[in-house]
Amino acid sequence: MLTYLPSRRSSITRWEVQVYEIIEKQVFSDVTKMVVVRAPEVAHKAKAGEFVIVRVDERGERIPLTIADFDREQGTVTLIFQEVGKSTMQMGMLEVGDGFANLVGPLGHATEVENLGTVACVGGGVGIAPIYPIARALKEAGNYVISIIGARTQSLLFWEDKMRAVSDELVACTDDGSYGRHGLVTAPLKEVLEARSGEIQRVWAIGPAIMMKFVARTTEPYGVKTIVSLNTIMIDGTGMCGGCRVQLKAGAQFVCVDGPEFDGHLVDWDLLLARQSFYRVEEQEAVERWQQLVRLENVA
């Protein structure tokens, strides 16, 4: 039945890990990597906007990653991540044929896709990955899709061609001006909102929390509903721990089961940003330890 059934021995003392194999890998930049992972049951159920949680090995953290793409026939899900901590650095070292110890999903609510007329999709940095299936689904539903993608610098920008293929208009920008328009995604977004006042029905924005905060702030005066996808710290991803909670105007919600998409105008962004950096010291410690291990390995 399940193609990834683990094989188990008797009287185990350490739980054996099953492997979700990587069948394709692309390196978008030094720090941005894409992997296509075999997980047929998950691919079968996946929808735009949902996420999975992976663990790289039996000592690993549980890391939530939005599903950037899926292929039901091939039985794979595509994940894109930026190396920001020890776990993502370790994931970045996985090659085709290696695998994740665990992959669970799909989790969270799928994007509500309907034909609204004209919509805008804003993807920043590694957030371009999860915005892609949403833009594609919106386009397929008959919307006129205006996409704005941005990154700090040219090397961090990816999937422009894929995004262009599912958008009616596309603007690419970089913070340092090394490619496309010079500046943040909020500038072209504001122009679009001005130029087509009343026309834009809804905005989707995925990227770093600080970017989503400013996108929400940009759209608020125009009264355009803005959906953001939050990537908080998570453990189980099923509503069990509450570690992922976000403060909305009406009270707290759990990102993993109530989201991950929320109305950006209702989110308490400052608290969200504070919560995201809670473990910074520990993360730094883990990174330094990991880099030292890798160096030792290379010497040996």
């Binding site: 059934l5 003392t13 669970v104 999903g105 721990c241 330890r289």
Partner: protein
């Protein structure tokens, strides 16, 4: 071996459980209770009067033949002892450690009327550990029936149901949302009370019986109950998904950094092995002054984990050991945790603030907790639960300086599992409504439920009892069904 008279048996004193010294153990995660030695176990076993109509058995939710396994033990036939024990209980190394024997079997022991009961739990642990040590014998399994049963959740309820059905020859698959099986046994109960290798070893025994455990599957998301019964071809489903949803107080400041649920804290420490960070990747933070709100087993476990991590930090980095407070709105008499756990917590240095209730949490400009305003309480008339209800004393607010608040206020069932399960009814508490309380049959055909998902947070052994009762009924149903079809 010398035969004892009843009078002689009555004269043997109950053997205390050897434990790690409190001052030592609060700096490590090693087991607190060290287990009987062979001679201690044999002497304790000699206390049992082997009553012809044993009252202790009536106190056991899974009906272990207690005097029989104890007699086999003292006769030196551990092999037989294991077989008797495992005939009724598939997870004895776990139960021997975490069951509240003092309110179940031991309270019914005839010796308890005049003195101290036989230490049944400790003997159970001794026999079970002996079995695991030798590599655990696989119980006999009936010839395969060709029926398929899906079990949702690999906690004690699901695992027990799975074991009993497998023994009867049915093909069982257990679906577990997390990456390891065990439920609360692995994510909630800490290593120092229940070593995880014991849990995995007992789960391993089930796998030898042919039970298939599939982790990383969230029922309601990857598959739904309706899909299990149709496309996936299962003849019956047992829901043992527990009560895993945390409760947060509805007071201001609850989302500051440093306020977390006991579930999150314990999952980081236990399932993710945060106490071994950075060897394991998941970090866990410990404040200098920690308040744990609540006084159940969950609160005790949280407080004792926090204490250990704090002491270890003090040992490694210098500085002050932590202050860990249990903040509870009722008095000592109402504490719901097991007496033994409260005793252990006190020994280790946990501070108890009774008749105290938080009303607000303060943060600093970085969004971190810096204090908690509490109000003093007094006890009024008994409430619906029969306990005297706490009433706030006017103008008695005071501030506690804390930098971490762990909420251990009870849990409720996770609603995810109920997605696409037409006809499955729930109560207003979010638990599954059972059509038959004896067997756990739900309002949906072919679907049974048991454990915390039906009762709300309860005990390991009551969950196991429910799994067992459901397995017997599922077996009756499957056999009847087959007979009809033939």
């Amino acid at each position: 071996m010398a035969e004892f008279t009843i009078k002689e048996r009555r004269q043997i004193p109950r053997h205390a459980m050897p434990t790690q010294d409190p001052l030592e153990r609060r700096t490590n995660f090693g087991e607190v209770a060290l287990g009987y030695s062979e001679s201690e176990a044999l002497e304790e076993a000699n206390r049992c009067l082997a009553c012809r109509r044993p009252t202790c058995v009536t106190g056991c939710p899974v009906g272990v033949d207690i005097p029989d396994f104890i007699v086999a033990l003292r006769e030196g036939d551990l092999d037989r002892s294991v077989r008797i024990l495992k005939g009724k209980n598939s997870l004895p190394a776990i139960c021997g450690r975490v069951c509240p024997q003092e309110t179940q079997c031991e309270v019914q022991c005839v010796l308890a009327k005049k003195g101290e009961p036989v230490a049944i739990g400790r003997l159970e642990r001794y026999v079970a550990d002996w079995d695991l040590q030798r590599g655990a014998e696989t119980p006999q399994v009936a010839p395969t029936t060709g029926n398929k049963v899906a079990i949702i959740g690999a906690g004690p309820a699901g695992l027990t149901c799975a074991a009993d059905l497998a023994r009867l020859g049915h093909k069982v698959t257990v679906f577990e949302a997390l990456h390891n099986p065990g439920g609360v046994l692995v994510y909630g109960i800490p290593e120092f009370r229940l070593p995880k290798d014991k849990v995995y070893a007992e789960v391993g025994c089930l796998e030898c019986m042919g039970v298939e455990v599939v982790t990383d599957v969230v029922i309601g998301k990857l598959f739904t109950i309706d899909e299990l019964l149709t496309e996936r071809g299962y003849d019956a489903v047992f829901i043992g998904s527990g009560a895993g949803l945390p409760t947060f107080m509805r007071i201001p400041g609850i989302n500051y950094n440093g306020v977390l649920s006991a579930n999150e804290f314990l999952t980081r420490v236990n399932l993710m092995k945060g106490y071994q960070f950075p060897e394991y990747d998941t970090p866990v933070k410990i404040g200098r002054r920690v308040a744990v709100v609540g006084a159940g087993n969950v609160a005790m476990d949280s407080a004792r984990c926090a204490l250990r991590l704090g002491w270890r930090r003090a040992k490694l980095e210098g500085g002050q050991p932590p202050d860990v407070h249990i903040v509870y709105r009722r008095s000592a008499a109402e504490v719901p945790a097991r007496a033994e756990e409260v005793h252990h917590a006190r020994e280790e240095g946990v501070i108890f603030d009774f008749l105290t209730n938080p009303v607000e949490i303060y943060g600093d400009d970085k969004g971190n907790v810096r204090g908690m305003r509490c109000i003093r309480m007094e006890l009024g008339d008994p409430d619906a639960s029969g306990r005297r209800s706490p009433i706030p004393i006017e103008n008695s607010e005071f501030d506690m300086e804390v930098d971490q608040v762990i909420m251990a206020l009870g849990t409720s069932p996770n609603p995810l599992v109920f997605r696409n399960a037409a006809g499955l009814e729930r109560t207003r508490h979010g638990t599954v409504r059972v059509a038959d309380a004896e067997t756990g049959l739900t309002t949906k055909a072919h679907v049974w439920a048991g454990g915390d998902v039906v009762t709300g947070a309860a005990t390991v052994i009551s969950a196991m009892g429910a799994g067992k009762a459901a397995a017997a009924d599922i077996d009756r149903y499957l056999k009847g069904e087959k007979a009809e079809a033939e």
